[in-house]
Symmetry: C2
Subunit: 226 residues, 2 copies
DNA sequence: CGCGTAGTTGACACTATTCAATGTCTGTGG
DNA sequence: CCACAGACATTGAATAGTGTCAACTACGCG
């Protein structure tokens, strides 16, 4: 990311940011309140791997993917971030992965150093940062568990995860492409596609469009993802 | 873990612990200095998944595995911890995985709550905890990248990782069984075994015993793990 | 010496990948 | 409104890589 937002973390005083914070899944939290709004268009890079982690982000709308590219060109998507999620917050001081907006995406941005120094004397904030890190670790671990399963289990697990995070159990709108899903699950795009249709034929899901998934049997999906 | 060590974190005053800390790879660090020594025998449980994370551990000698068991019985090893490594330090307040001693293992134990509260006013210590967490996140991410590769790449990557962590480039003594390696890499024991002999036949490694691996061509191994 | 555990090897089955073709959606310009 | 291009997604057939099951070997320990 090259452009630095003009609004500093003191922007918490402005009502516009408070509104934006409240817009994020209805959850109020300190990090959001301090953020400056920023916009990224489809496939725009938010930050690159190994860049110093200057900012911390919270998704307001849209979606973000973080990824690593291996020497042979394969891409592994490390995580998807949906509205309300905080990302770019590394325990170290440089980014472990690159981040891109999946579609048109609005985020709140805040200087990491400001948060960190404030956390030194604000116990709540420090707690929030640890929670975010714990969440990140749990997700990584869940993701690791996904990668050792069969294609069907991975896709089912992915759908359950997405439904859970969107707090839905009937239908989900996937913001990401099949290629993104494939790179997240460590499968090929063909296998992902085949597995979707397989799940559809067995009546567990319906696919009105390729991005919209109706969960016809949430419990069976959960069980399938083992 | 059922048994609580008699020695509390104030044990830092006792020279015996300071000696133990220094014994850990020659590195001095605050966490180690505060630890009470404790011993676990082969396959002994150190803590279980979802147990409250009361203690924090540092390996002095031996090795530890953390793992999760899926409903169908498959076991995924999340991490191996070698002498000097800190484990059991969860960002949340319960353990994300179970931990077992792989062989006869000596650790230093300290109450997590003591460390955490001390970290509130000791900046160095807080920094150390963040560093440990960052390390953990990096390892998880590396592990994730391993899991999307071919069997040969995974095993090569595993050997390079072990060599690196033991600070060796010629030969490594693996403390864990083939089954442990298989569960770490998301492969079967047979595939791991076959891959070892394959690497031996292609001259990249030698296997004087099944646990001792001589790296005959470290750079080729690195390259192979892509 | 014999037993049990850990590790290796072989034959075969099965799952996911590869390569190629076809189908679908969306936005643009006629 | 329709036709078209380009990106995205689905489907099929052949292949490669792991898993599975079973037999066999090597090692450590009573």
């Amino acid at each position: 990311m090259q452009v630095v937002p003009a609004v500093s973390f003191e922007a918490s005083r402005y009502p516009s940011n408070a509104r934006a914070a409240r817009a994020v899944g209805g959850k109020m939290n300190t990090i959001a309140l301090m953020g400056a709004p920023m916009r990224f268009s489809r496939n725009a890079e938010i930050y690159g791997e190994d860049e110093p982690a200057e900012y911390l982000y919270q998704v307001v709308s849209g979606a973000v993917r973080t990824y690593k590219v291996l020497e042979d060109g394969r891409r592994q998507i490390c995580a998807f971030y949906l509205p309300g999620d905080i990302f770019g917050f590394e325990a170290g001081d440089s980014h472990m992965a690159s981040a891109e907006a999946i579609g048109e995406t609005h985020v709140l941005v805040v200087k990491r150093i400001a948060i960190m120094s404030r956390a030194d004397h604000e116990k709540d904030l420090a707690r929030q940062l640890w929670d975010a890190t714990a969440q990140e670790l749990r997700r990584f671990q869940e993701h690791m568990l996904l990668l050792i399963k069969s294609a069907e289990e991975r896709v089912a697990g992915f759908l359950v995860e997405m439904a859970h995070r969107a707090a839905k159990t009937v239908s989900v709108e996937l913001p990401m492409s099949r290629q993104d899903i494939a790179d997240y699950l460590g499968l090929t795009i063909e296998t992902v596609s085949r597995t979707f249709t397989q799940l559809e034929h067995s009546g567990l899901i319906a696919l009105p469009t390729s991005r919209r998934v109706e969960l016809r049997n949430y419990n069976a999906l959960r069980q399938l993802s083992a």
